[in-house]
């Protein structure tokens, strides 16, 4: 199908993008809106590097067609906070030094965000389950787990 203008609600602002409806949301975010926090990792919904929160749920933007987003609010890592004013999850990741290369981290943070919104006091098992689809190759998992627990404490 040809490109058509579509309105997206991203990080609390409305944007119009002109892309073919089947274009994955990830490309609209990165290439049309310049939001490069979400990363391309596999294009197969296998790794979680592209995770954003759509209407409260963590989704894989690499396989989510723009046409399926509609008016639902999209939140990317840029929508949480910035270096000067990080949100509690981002601040917890800094406090725990929960990154090495950091390529997976915005996806981790968005999955953690969706989890904490639904379950403010998750158990270790619940955190591991929520993040099980997010892959990290550097092996920073233990720090990420600590960061999510720390954020749960802060937001409690």
């Amino acid at each position: 199908m040809p490109a058509v203008p579509m309105t997206l609600d991203v990080n609390g602002r409305r944007h119009t993008v002109a892309v073919e409806p089947e274009t994955p949301l990830l490309y609209a975010l990165r290439d049309e809106l310049g939001l490069t926090g979400p990363k391309f990792g596999c294009g197969l919904a296998q790794c979680g590097a592209c995770t954003v929160v759509l209407n409260g749920r963590a989704i894989r933007s690499c396989v989510t067609p723009v046409s399926s987003v509609g008016a639902q609010p999209v939140v990317t890592v840029e929508g949480l906070g910035d270096e000067q004013r990080p949100d509690p999850v981002q601040a917890a990741f800094v406090a725990e030094q929960a990154a090495q290369c950091g390529y997976c981290i915005s996806g981790m943070i968005m999955s953690a965000h969706a989890l904490l919104a639904a379950n403010p006091h998750p158990s270790d098992e619940e955190i591991r389950t929520a993040l099980n689809g997010n892959l990290c190759r550097c092996g920073t998992h233990l720090r990420i787990l600590r960061a999510v627990k720390r954020a749960a404490g802060v937001t409690a």
Partner: protein, 727 residues
């Protein structure tokens, strides 16, 4: 005018203004292929940079610029480097900045590899900083007309010890001017007792941007007019491209350019998604490929690859000991091909400028890649610039050099800036693999339960096929028929010998110039495979001797540092747990591990519950940074041991994504307890790899301790465990 002022004035006048670091002419006089005893070529030597000004500069505002030729791969070395400079030069951390790594800006320090960035790479900068500090004290002595011994430095200034108000900042003494002097032959290095930031857990400088989504990964670099490219790699190894049908791209809503050179094929579009689609939809015809061995024949095939026989140790009369020994055992160990598994597929951006090419690239060596691209495109080296931009963690020679060369080729062909990102299957299918190896071991015990003789034979290819200026060491070079590169033998012998006291030993290797599939450096290189064989076999000998595995290792070690790392984990050892000890590369970091596992006898699933690590890498620069590296090594190496093997299917690599090449997930992550022994007066030893090498043997030893079954082939998958349990 006093002599003092004269000297300062002289320095200021004589020393050129520091404008910027510039290394236009580093086409290396020293870069040459040298004959070596163990192969036709050694890695090209890097030039030497003998002058202080080549490494650091003090700007007029007091900022200190440091030209570190090693790159931040996500391991934290940039932060650690700042700490080392802060203490050696005695300047506030906030005043130091690392110059962007580019072939025009930093010294050629070769590759960022082998856990050597701080142990070796930082050495010239630390020495330059020590030299600079002495010079600054000399300038201050002249200025205050006092003996330099009566002065101290603090926070970027020199002052008179007895009168701290008599103070001159470094900027006042030399800011904006060159030092104009060589690095001292024996600079007075700071005593570790004066360190203020070395040894502290300074937070990493890159993490705030990484958690904010604003960090500039190479995947995020954009230039005006940039197009998006994707490669179309052969469906089978060795397949030749017969034809492609550009008409198959008619469904894509913009004209797509197809770039072909030999068997190299790529598509270029304005919109990234269109490039992704074009790479998928382009109809191509390829010849048959080269057959790969069936899984059960892999290691037999590995052993048939020709190579050079190399003796690593031959001491004592091994044959005589075996002939008369009371007890001998033998074992064979096998390691599979493994993928680096970078979470972000490799990416690079290339722009044609003034007849040359600039490439933004996440590689471990900007200069060796520059030379390979220059040779590939038949350009002078000065016409190619490589600018480092961080990618996803690489853990060795992944697809980064290939993607960078491909981006350069495409940009050069079409004359426009091109961003090329690999797709998942390009990265997992085509990164040069950590190689498959075979080890055959034999050991003899004496009547006291000590090792009387040790024999090992290793089948391994070289672990290094990095670019080194040779197009044939890149995938685009190979696909376009570049002439073969000389073989550089490296890494196969890493940690091949143990540090155990062995009265007689014979260790040799068949050092192969190639592998079944393209191979290169992956974390730990041969140290990973060799330590799996050695530490499994030591455990087999300990069991045969009926001695507890920690006590058995202790009896064969004399180095107090080796004993110390074993001692810190010893309290966690109990029957049913596994142990391993490695003195990495025999002289680098020392690591001991105790591992607790559960083995599900119904499903064959091995779960690593907890890992205790004793670690000694000399002076610890950043304790939390070190722990981050050790945790990462433990987790990644657990993944490699439990899950990872490249799969073949006909002439195709069949493990191309996270379903076919699974890695460890959150629900499987063990607890990791680390005791890092700080030795402030010892040299820094790298910590980027050592802890990787203990994990596979420690897990195998733990599985044996739980089940009485030895797993001698990685990975320890449920099928492998069930087969062992039923054997």
């Amino acid at each position: 005018m006093s002599a003092a002022v004269d000297r300062a004035t002289f320095l200021r006048r004589a020393g050129a203004l520091v404008v910027a670091f510039s290394f236009p002419g580093t086409v290396p006089a020293l870069a040459q292929e040298a004959a070596a005893p163990n192969g036709p070529a050694t890695r090209r030597k890097t030039p030497s940079y003998p002058n202080v000004d080549q490494w650091l500069a003090i700007e007029p505002d007091g900022a200190v610029s440091v030209a570190f030729g090693k790159v931040e791969l996500g391991t934290g070395i940039a932060t650690a480097m700042l700490q080392l400079v802060a203490d050696e030069l005695d300047v506030p951390l906030a005043q130091i900045r690392l110059v962007d790594v580019a072939t025009t800006h930093v010294p050629n320090q070769g590759y960022t590899s082998g856990s050597t960035s701080l142990s070796l790479g930082a050495v010239p900068i630390r020495r330059a900083a020590a030299t600079a500090r002495a010079t600054l004290l000399g300038l201050a002595a002249d200025h205050f007309k006092i003996d330099a011994a009566a002065l101290e430095t603090r926070e970027g200034a020199c002052f008179v010890t007895a009168e701290p108000s008599r103070r001159a900042t470094y900027a006042e003494l030399i800011g904006g001017h060159a030092f104009g002097e060589p690095i001292a032959a024996h600079p007075q290095m700071r005593d570790p007792s004066t360190y203020r930031v070395v040894g502290t857990s300074l937070p990493r400088v890159d993490i705030p941007a990484k958690v904010s989504g604003t960090f500039t990964f190479v995947q995020n670099v954009r230039v005006p007019g940039m197009l998006h490219a994707r490669v179309v790699l052969p469906p089978r190894l060795g397949a030749q491209l017969a034809s492609y049908d550009a008409g198959s791209l008619r469904g894509i809503p913009e004209p797509v350019r197809v770039v072909r050179k030999g068997n190299f094929l790529a598509v270029v579009a304005q919109k990234e998604w269109h490039a992704v689609r074009a790479a998928r939809e382009l109809k191509t015809t390829w010849s048959e490929g080269t057959a790969l061995p069936a899984p059960e024949r892999l290691w037999e095939t590995v052993q048939q690859i020709p190579g050079k026989s190399r003796e690593l140790a031959n001491t004592g009369d091994v044959d005589a000991v075996f002939a008369s020994a009371k007890r001998t055992i033998a074992a064979r160990y096998e390691w599979p091909y493994q993928s680096h598994g970078s979470i972000g597929p490799s990416c690079a951006l290339a722009e044609v400028r003034d007849g040359g090419v600039t490439v933004w690239s996440p590689v471990q060596g900007v200069y060796p890649l520059r030379d390979a691209i220059a040779a590939f495109l038949e350009l002078q080296a000065e016409k190619v610039q490589v600018v480092y931009a961080e990618g996803a963690g690489c853990y060795g020679h992944n697809g980064a050099d290939d993607a960078s060369t491909a981006a350069a080729l495409i940009a050069h062909e079409i004359g426009k800036p091109v961003r090329l990102q690999y797709m998942r299957a390009d990265e997992t299918g085509w990164d040069p693999k950590g190689p498959a190896t075979v080890h055959e071991m034999k050991g003899a015990l004496d009547e006291h339960g000590m090792i009387a003789a040790w024999e090992g034979h290793i089948w391994t290819p070289t672990h290094s096929t990095r670019p080194d200026g040779h197009p044939a060491n890149t995938l685009p070079g190979q696909l376009t028929g570049a002439p073969a590169a000389p073989v550089y033998y490296n890494g196969g012998d890493r940690s091949a010998l143990t540090n155990y006291t062995l009265p007689a030993q014979h260790v040799s290797m068949l050092y192969q110039e190639r592998a079944v599939i393209r191979q290169s450096s992956m974390r730990g290189l041969g140290g990973t495979q060799n330590s799996f064989a050695n530490e499994s076999f030591v455990d087999e000998l300990a069991h045969a001797a009926s001695v507890d595995p920690i006590a058995f290792r202790r009896r064969h070690l004399t180095d107090p540092r080796a004993l110390a790392v074993l001692d810190v984990v010893a309290p966690q050892y109990k029957p049913g747990r596994g142990v391993a000890f490695v003195h990495y590369e025999n002289t680098e970091a020392l690591v001991a591990a105790v591992v607790d596992v559960s083995v599900d006898r119904e499903t064959g699933v091995v779960r690593v519950n907890q890992v205790w690590i004793g670690h000694d890498c000399g002076l610890i620069v950043n304790p939390d940074g070190l722990r981050n590296q050790i945790e990462g090594n433990v987790i990644q190496a657990t993944s490699r041991a439990l899950h990872e093997a490249v799969r073949f299917d006909g002439s195709r690599v069949a493990s191309v994504d996270w379903a076919s090449y699974p890695i460890l997930r959150f629900r499987e992550i063990p607890e990791v307890s680390i005791t890092a022994i700080d030795r402030p007066h010892e040299k820094i030893r790298g910590a980027g790899e050592a802890a990787t090498t203990v994990m596979a043997p420690a897990i195998a030893n733990a599985i044996f301790a739980q089940t009485g079954k030895r797993l001698r082939r990685v990975p320890f998958t449920p099928d492998a465990v069930l087969a062992a349990l039923r054997a």
